[in-house]
């Protein structure tokens, strides 16, 4: 086994284990911390897939910003574990549907993978900032500008949603 295989196996097992812990841990704080682990494993896989820029972005945006935001909200609201009073039948139904989705994806991938050619060699500068920037600010310039409008709208929306309007809400009544 080469180094790439060993790294892939380590990161893949790490990602799946932490992802399972995210959806099974009772406390939200634990879930968020395991999600950081998943994000780091995925960033490692991105490096293996010749996407170093996206790996850096993954760590900064997901592990750095999004998870910190989630943790902030969890701690600010002092969320504790809530009783998971899911009826057993619904839990089984959920497992069944998730399993079905997984099975469908598995079948599609296994059937499709026989027609796929082998991995090509990585071209020079593939996935680096320069190459991605040229595409982003060339062909996708309009989409990039639209993204900035989206982020502005999300920002204004978030501020409007959490703003306390005089005397409303649980504690102001």
């Amino acid at each position: 086994m080469g180094l790439e295989t060993v790294l892939f196996l380590l990161l893949a097992v790490g990602a799946v284990l932490t992802a399972l812990l995210v959806v099974t841990t009772p406390s939200p704080i634990g879930s968020a911390l395991y999600l950081v682990g998943t994000m780091f494993c995925l960033a490692g896989l991105y490096v293996l897939l010749a996407a170093p820029f996206l790996a850096a972005i993954q760590v900064m945006v997901y592990a750095g910003a999004i998870i910190v935001l989630l943790l902030f909200v969890i701690m600010l609201l002092n969320l504790r574990r809530i009783e998971e009073t899911v009826p057993r039948i619904w839990r089984i139904a959920g497992l069944f549907i998730a399993g079905l989705t997984l099975l469908a994806l598995f079948v599609a991938i296994v059937r499709g993978s026989s027609v796929l050619p082998d991995m090509p060699a990585v071209p020079d500068g593939f996935g680096k900032v320069k190459a991605l920037g040229e595409i982003l600010f060339g062909k996708y310039l309009f989409a990039f500008e639209a993204t900035s409008v989206l982020l502005l709208a999300a920002m204004i929306g978030a501020v409007t949603l959490v703003r306390k309007t005089g005397g409303e809400g649980r504690d102001g009544r």
Binding site: V23, P28, L69, L105
Partner: protein, 101 residues
């Protein structure tokens, strides 16, 4: 054994399935939000492995946009979550049935 495209695709399928499981079986709103993030990341992994496979960087640019949308989604989602907490004092999706969903 060499790592092939199908291994990466299978891994992202597994992650997507785990995310689906979380959305369907958990009752805590914030954990459901995290499961959705997990599903988004599984899709990102698919994009990046296919970008590597086709030696085409445009798919990596798409992942960039997915990241932006995920950031916006988390910001708005958490804002909704906070206002629900203020009004209702609960995070349990069973208690939040005003829309009769």
């Amino acid at each position: 054994m060499a790592v092939e495209l199908s291994h990466y695709l299978l891994l992202s399928a597994v992650l997507f399935g785990i995310g689906t499981l979380g959305v369907l079986t958990r009752k805590n709103l914030i954990i459901i939000l995290m499961s959705v993030e997990l599903m988004l990341n599984a899709v990102n992994l698919t994009f990046i492995s296919l970008a590597r496979h086709a030696a085409d960087q445009e798919a990596q640019v798409i992942v960039f946009f997915v990241l932006c949308v995920a950031a916006a989604e988390v910001a708005v989602g958490l804002a909704i979550l906070i206002s629900i907490w203020r009004k209702r004092g609960t995070m349990n999706v069973d208690a939040l049935s005003a829309l009769r969903g």
